[in-house]
Assembly symmetry: C2
Homo-oligomer: 283 residues x 2
């Protein structure tokens, strides 16, 4: 397993792979890997010559007062977990090299970044699209894998790739969950055992919502009300948002006449967790 920390070394290596006709698959991460990341890496492994995982806690996607400083980091452990999952190269650039003195260029995707997390975390998606563009230009992947837990991120990246004619195939990976339903996230490590139990309200309310639809409910407001009730019944849980949205444009919708994204952000103690589910009305 090779670890590359230099941007120019990574870029040269990627160029060499291209000249050799090798295909590259990128799994962009912020590190502190868990089984969810490993599932993405195993998917990346299938049907490509080289798997690169990037590990970079990207400062530009954190807002003031967010958890950039305390975001968990452990490159040694990450290296082990990535190797287990079939990664060939870890690209772990230093922040000073990614954002040198005078840096001033950002990618802005407009409409799809406005609602949901975009409304709650101004500047977040600008940081994401910018770093992903940089990673694409450095690692030159033919394909890149993104988890559906960050559903708005996935939609935003897809939009950017299409709009800017980037030749990268974006592959979505389903949310990977703990056995009790909690969506895997590096931020789960912030939770104490009690909060860990409270955090189940996210996945449970999403499941309840699908159950309501299966039982014929078609009123979005009724479903969102129930979701909010389930979350707010837990001591220490506070809704940041609960929204129904069209899964491609992310426009708010109340109509449940086709697949519909139910997206959820909840503070558990001081920890902000997100989860989502595509709700399917029965045929």
């Amino acid at each position: 397993m090779r670890i590359i920390e230099s941007v120019s070394e990574m870029q040269q290596q990627a160029g060499a792979w291209h000249r050799e006709g090798k295909t590259i698959c990128l799994v962009p991460t912020m590190g502190y890997l868990h089984s969810g990341h490993q599932a993405l890496m195993r998917t990346a492994r299938e049907g490509t010559d080289v798997v690169v995982a990037s590990i970079f806690v990207n400062p530009t996607q954190f807002g003031p007062g967010e958890d950039f400083e305390r975001y968990p980091r452990d490159l040694e452990r990450d290296t082990r977990l990535a190797e287990q999952a079939g990664v060939d190269v870890i690209f772990a650039p230093r922040p000073r090299e990614m954002y040198p003195e005078g840096f001033q260029t950002y990618i802005e995707v407009s409409e799809v970044t406005l609602p949901l997390c975009g409304q709650k975390r101004p500047g977040h998606f600008r940081g994401v699209t910018t770093v992903v563009t940089k990673l694409f230009n450095i690692v030159k992947p033919h394909r890149a894998i993104f988890g559906e837990k960050d559903f708005q991120q996935l939609v935003t990246i897809r939009r950017m790739v299409r709009d800017l004619n980037m030749e990268v195939e974006i592959v979505a990976h389903p949310i990977v969950r703990e056995s009790d339903g909690l969506a895997m996230s590096s931020r789960n490590t912030y939770l104490n055992p009690e909060q860990r139990q409270v955090a189940l309200c996210l996945s449970q309310s999403l499941e309840t919502a699908q159950g309501m639809i299966d039982n014929g409910e078609r009123n979005g407001e009724v479903i969102l009300k129930k979701v909010r009730e389930i979350v707010e019944a837990r001591a220490g849980a506070r809704i940041d948002y609960a929204q129904l949205a069209q899964p491609e444009t992310l426009e708010a919708t109340g109509a449940l006449d086709g697949p519909c994204l139910l997206a959820l952000a909840v503070f558990v103690g001081g920890v902000r967790l997100i989860d989502n589910r595509i709700l399917y009305p029965a045929k």
Copy 2:
């Protein structure tokens, strides 16, 4: 000479050239070619396998009330002139293909786009950087040539390329002038014979400025005052801006202790012309 109008055809062709180990040089233009463009194309021709000239009047870099609709277009003539200058392929995409329904992604370069034309034409550079990024992703050039007449554009593109780790070498081409000094521009065709004479005030005032420096003047304000006087002495000429700036950051400067950009935008009749010159204090 081949003309490609389809984005996917251009992208596939560029991919094929890469696999064959061929180098690509791009000359991005808005068409209505003149000898200035041809000089860029001849420079492109040197030391590359394939020269692609793009011809695209890019709607996103025109503001409301600007001359997008009346910007001169003549693809047949352009084809002839490009062929003369050694271009292999003209890429002339249709606007609907470059900006399809739902398009919403833009590249924003901040500081260097704030002064000069950026201040006068809000959104202009965002349109430029976005379309250039798209062209880079479609044509996949190893090198791209930009004229120094659009000096702020050149600085902005360089900054973007560095910030986003694009592997494209940006080559600057000196301003190409008519024999009487007028900087070549497709917009010169808007000028009637009288205005054509008035327009000489741009290059003449730039030359006067260098003359003043050669004679020991080091006060930027004195030089700018003289430039403004020369322009405003001409009936029908109106200064849009006249600025001295540091040539890399484009920050306003009054100090003439090193190379300094003198940038000028002047309305002649309804036509907005720009010109610039790097002033060099004598050693």
